[in-house]
């Protein structure tokens, strides 16, 4: 009986190990495939020149610029809004119906599919406000999409600021807002930055929302105003991999685009995780 239980344990632990190994294998295989196949095409020319000959040659510069604009545009809107909302929720809000509603709305926005955000952006920004298929429409749509991420990260950061900081400042006769601005917020900056960085990663990778709000199949000029259409890395990869007659011919460019996108997103995530764990350790001390 006893040895039976021991045997069962051995089998069970072995199976758990296999499951874990499979998950790690997925990570390794996907990264290896993209990196090993995309590495060869990367060059200065690839990231600084426009696509040529029906996108079968040349680089991906306009897509990089487009994605950069989207990141800037959505951050300008979502970052201040998200931080202010987080300050309200952690420092001012009293438990009650209103706070519950805000929390619920954030949770649900976080779980809403990105393509639904795309539809919303299309209905409200492109059509209703008449911004058309443009950087502006797409940036605003993405800003709403990452708002929950930024609020959550900032809230977490504000909550980790010790109560004593606030009390010490308030005891000196400093007002609540001055305390938040000069004491609490500076202490929470690393966490807030982490949230912002995670948001950048998300904006860089999203495809469905921009597909509906202004990403162009091919737009070799650089966007001149916020009302221009634009190319973007994830949509460019989608287009090259699924449309047109030269899918197999452009495979290296596809891998190159996927690699740039992957590097951008992973780089951003590594920075975010590093900042976060660094400050979590510091806080525990």
């Amino acid at each position: 009986m006893f040895s039976n239980a021991k045997l069962n344990e051995k089998i069970a632990f072995a199976l758990l190990k296999v499951a874990m190994a499979m998950v790690i294998a997925f990570v390794v295989i996907i990264l290896y495939d993209i990196i090993s196949n995309g590495y060869g095409i990367l060059s200065i020319e690839f990231i600084t020149s426009a696509p040529r000959k029906g996108m079968t040659q040349g680089g991906i510069f306009p897509a990089i610029v487009g994605t950069t604009y989207l990141i800037m545009g959505s951050m300008i809107v979502a970052l201040p809004l998200g931080i202010l909302a987080a300050i309200y929720l952690t420092e001012y809000a009293q438990p009650g119906k209103t706070t519950w509603m805000i929390e619920m709305a954030i949770n649900n926005l976080a779980g809403t599919p990105s393509v639904v955000f795309g539809l919303f952006g299309l209905a409200i920004f492109v059509k209703y406000f008449g911004f058309g298929d443009s950087i502006l429409s797409a940036s605003l749509t993405l800003a709403l999409l990452i708002l929950p991420i930024i609020i959550r990260a900032s809230q977490e950061a504000l909550l980790t600021v010790p109560k004593e900081y606030r009390e010490a400042s308030l005891a000196l006769g400093v007002t609540k807002w001055e305390t938040i601005r000069k004491v609490v917020l500076p202490a929470a900056i690393p966490g807030v930055v982490t949230g912002a960085i995670l948001g950048v990663g998300r904006v860089a990778g999203e495809t469905a929302p921009i597909l509906l709000t202004g990403a162009a199949y091919f737009y070799p000029r650089l966007p001149s105003t916020i009302f221009s259409q634009f190319m973007a890395l994830p949509y460019h990869l989608y287009v090259l991999a699924t449309a047109g007659t030269n899918i197999s011919q452009t495979r290296p460019i596809q891998y190159g685009t996927a690699l740039i996108l992957l590097l951008l997103v992973l780089f951003v995530n590594v920075i975010a995780v590093t900042i976060r764990s660094h400050y979590r350790k510091k806080l525990k001390r």
Partner: protein
């Protein structure tokens, strides 16, 4: 002093307004989504939308039947859950209960890489690598099947399931586990009879959120599941090409004239999708809050 109070009040109102943006955004999202979707029903009865078995938006007599797309999403999601739930929970148990803490600290960020990879990159990988594998191993006419979509979505749902389950499992108080071990149970008996049941609510929330992620995913399924709008059989449908609600919206929106029935039908699909994920989110958050372990 009075001035200072006015300033403080003003700032509080401003901060409240920022907090309220989330509510306003969700409210506007419902209004705009449902309004555009409802316009379909001026020309096309709701009952047909819900019960027609065909999605033929470009036929001379167009049919906007939700069923093939709803069932397409269903098959792909069920497939992905069958694959990712056991794998995800097993990995979570391994990370929190078995692995050396030092190794666990490496395993966690590695699994989180999966959450960072953009969906279009998953789609691309699936299209280039997995689709040919599925076609060859099962000798199917095409490798772009529900199964392929399920596997890719399963991989994408893994980090959500692992990190939330892991949280739940490692928050089970040590005293409970030690009690079980002291009674002579093996570690494994303790895990599956004590620890996992105690963490079950957190694990269920993880599964719900994983389902939500799978239903709402667009680019990956669109690139690897073939996109035929036919009612899938189950389980035979797993090996055929299917089209999900999300893929339909993303595929067709570019080609429809704004304001047409087809345009509104896509918003109606989006509304169904939104309501589905909304309900899933509510349930997940409810479970998470209701049964949070407290000792």
């Amino acid at each position: 002093m009075l001035n200072r109070n006015i300033k403080e009040k003003g700032i509080e109102s401003l901060l409240f307004a920022a907090g309220a943006t989330a509510v306003i955004a969700l409210f506007l999202l419902c209004i705009f989504l449902f309004r555009e979707g409802a316009l379909l029903f001026e020309n096309y009865p709701v009952s047909s939308f819900l019960t027609d078995t065909k999605w033929l938006p470009t036929a001379t007599k167009p049919q906007y039947g939700l069923l093939p797309l709803l069932l397409g999403s269903f098959v792909v999601t069920v497939g992905s859950i069958l694959f990712s739930v056991p794998l995800g929970i097993a990995s979570a148990i391994y990370i929190s209960e078995i692995a050396d803490p030092k190794i666990a600290n490496v395993l966690k960020p590695v699994t989180e890489i999966l959450a960072g990879i953009p969906s279009v990159v998953y789609g691309f990988f699936g299209l280039v690598i997995l689709v040919p594998i599925v076609q060859k191993t099962l000798s199917l006419p095409t490798g772009q099947t529900a199964l392929t979509g399920s596997i890719m979505l399963g991989i994408m749902a893994l980090p959500t399931i692992i990190s939330i389950s892991e949280d739940a499992i490692s928050s089970v108080p040590r005293s409970i586990k030690e009690g079980s071990l002291a009674l002579g149970s093996t570690e494994w008996q303790t895990i599956y009879k004590v620890t996992v049941p105690a963490a079950l609510s957190g694990i269920s929330a993880a599964v719900m959120l994983g389902i939500g992620r799978a239903i709402g995913e667009t680019m990956t399924v669109m690139m690897v599941s073939g996109n035929s709008a036919i009612i899938p059989g189950f389980p035979s449908g797993l090996f055929e090409s299917v089209r999900t609600m999300t893929a339909t919206i993303a595929l067709e929106m570019g080609e429809v004239p704004q304001g047409s029935d087809h345009f509104h039908a896509l918003f109606a699909i989006g509304s169904v999708l939104f309501i589905t994920t909304f309900i899933i989110n509510i349930i997940a958050n409810y479970i998470k809050r209701r049964y949070r372990f407290s000792l």
